[in-house]
Subunit: 384 residues, 2 copies
């Protein structure tokens, strides 16, 4: 455990009857906060805010950061514990405070067991139309419990072949050519595909730097960084010659007409990320993007993600499974779905130095699932 510093913040006026809570923002935490009615409930939901410390400063088109806030969840049921996690995508406006506020409204005492998944998630959905990361943290813990009750990993309950997991990409942030070259050298033996963040003015410089030391296949994530469709197409045509596999979210999320034109003319598949959040968004992206990037924190959890994969396939769209910067808990949960994906970007846990769980492994670049029941994670032993 790298971090054992404990910071406390006081949250006020955001809770139901609990006007002051102390909780640690960094490192080890033992004080799990219970939710409404958790004493009466057969399923006891508790949660604990936690801050992830990044190994490196991370830069994308819109910002740079050194930490990521998450909230860890647990649901206890008949001596079993299901683990979940909320990680906050900045562009969806969630914070530890909003997740805490959401989870404190969750009352599982009206439900008999985790098999009531559909009813529980309908109830969770009605609490607030946003807060998909908070919803995902409950959904993941419920799925983990279901797997533990049935003593099977989720991929088996879904009938999926664990050998069919894809290689995961590893993400290279925007940086100087020297730093980019260094990062590529460090990672190119470990990963079979790298993901490059573009969308600033240094796009060609970034790619040329990588290509000066490696011919590993690349995927490119523009994070809405290109505003003109003609320039975007020129850039994609150039990337096509550089062994790039696909281009993610090249244009602003609302520019669907320009995107449809770009996809129609692009020699590379285009993948929606910021343009797609939940299952009902997909129909608007048919023939607009070639595929979608599904993330548990965007869509509200494994149940919706599983269904989104099937919807995309039914529309003959490509499927990518992604993640946020998060612990092995949420990344391993997402990995359980990866046998259904064309591509995976499941490196979120590799970017942090204070993970709390052991879960998936990346072996020769390939997502490798644990055989443990449920989502397949074990909490790390905490150092005192």
């Amino acid at each position: 455990m790298a971090a054992n510093r404990r910071d406390f913040i006081k949250l006020s006026a955001l809770t139901l009857g609990l006007s002051l809570i102390d909780y640690p923002l960094y490192g080890r935490t033992n004080n799990w906060i219970k939710t409404l009615n958790s004493e009466k409930s057969v399923m006891k939901l508790s949660f604990s805010p936690y801050n992830l410390l990044l190994k490196h400063v991370f830069t994308v088109a819109s910002n740079s950061r050194t930490t990521t806030p998450v909230v860890l969840t647990q649901i206890e049921y008949q001596g079993l514990v299901g683990y979940g996690e909320a990680s906050m995508p900045p562009y969806l406006g969630e914070t530890q405070e909003s997740v805490v506020k959401f989870l404190q409204k969750v009352d599982l005492s009206k439900f008999a067991n985790p098999f009531e998944l559909d009813e529980i998630m309908l109830y969770i959905e009605k609490i607030d139309k946003n807060n998909t990361a908070a919803k995902a943290s409950v959904d993941i813990a419920l799925h983990d419990l279901l797997g533990k009750i049935l003593q099977q990993p989720l991929y088996k309950l879904w009938g999926l072949n664990p050998q069919k997991t894809p290689n995961t990409s590893f993400t290279i942030g925007i940086d100087t050519p020297e730093v980019v070259i260094e990062k590529v050298k460090e990672t190119q033996n470990e990963f079979k595909i790298l993901k490059v963040k573009l969308g600033k003015n240094s796009d060609k410089e970034m790619i040329n730097a990588i290509r000066s030391v490696s011919d590993v296949p690349l995927c490119v994530d523009v994070n809405q960084g290109w505003s003109d469709k003609y320039q975007a197409l020129d850039m994609i045509n150039w990337l096509h010659e550089k062994n790039v596999v696909f281009v993610e979210q090249p244009m602003p999320k609302e520019k669907l007409d320009d995107m449809a034109w770009l996809t129609q003319h692009s020699p590379l598949p285009t993948i929606a990320d910021e343009s797609v959040q939940r299952i009902t968004d997909i129909k608007n992206l048919y023939q607009v993007f070639s595929g979608i990037n599904i993330k548990l924190m965007k869509c509200g959890g494994l149940r919706e993600a599983y269904n989104m994969m099937n919807v995309a396939k039914a529309l003959e769209m490509k499927v990518m499974i992604g993640c946020m910067t998060e612990t092995s808990c949420a990344v391993t949960a997402a990995a359980q779905l990866s046998p259904m994906a064309d591509w995976a970007d499941l490196d979120g846990n590799l970017l942090i130095k204070n993970d709390r769980y052991n879960g998936l492994k990346i072996i020769e670049g390939k997502v490798t699932l644990p055989t443990l029941p449920g989502i397949g994670v074990k909490p790390q032993k905490q150092q005192s």
Copy 2:
């Protein structure tokens, strides 16, 4: 057991190394035919053709009949038996012979257990692009086994609420007004919604006959019987005044442009039946029909049916779960999905007098699921 007559037919030149097989077409059968390599396999698939005897002659727009051919399947695994069934929709061209021929090609010896569902169904799919009823008979038996291994009914494994099952419609065939009135009187206390087969010249006569004795909600199945969109709209407008809930497959299945126009103008939801078979068909029906009728025998089983339901919902289309004339085996399997459906038409087992299983019950018109594991059926005791 109503029928104990045993007829034998000889099938030749349709098997792999088994050039002559005797099997009973009616009533009780004890000779289950084993599939390729079933001795070596940990999962032992066997099957038995069986003919269903209808309680009444049944007339739809295209034909009349008194029997329906099915093939019953079983998969044995570690002392458990999973049950399945293929019932042949006439318009998809399957017969007992084609199902037998298909199943004799199935070699499960390469698979370790029923959890390899995805790989097994991909393998089954590759045997032949058609034969969805034969595929469904394997898929249903595998799902039944999975539920029995995990000791849970399928609805629980899918996280569905068994209280949310819809009322099932009961089907009134095309007949004289006197017979129709008699049938409606017999059934209207038992069912909360009736389905009327239209598409011959007697449509208004049929509806008026029913309305002379009952105001029960009706759904209307035209089985492609109306060829002109303007006449179809006139008829739907007339039906709208008669407490009709939706209109199923009003026009020929390939007339999608006319259907899109009709759906746009129709005051009642339009539901695709013959126009939709498998999951990849749905995208072509978006904004063409208001919803789809999903049947296990059309789509190849529970796995695809579950996914089709989610695809339809993601496209904001209505979902109906239907069946063929079949035993309680396949009908109860379909019923496990019914909590996800807007409407159910699960009366296939009620039309026959030689059912082989006990499964779902219809209680005050509502689909009522057994709590048994898997699909939830038990074989009936056979009379000697």
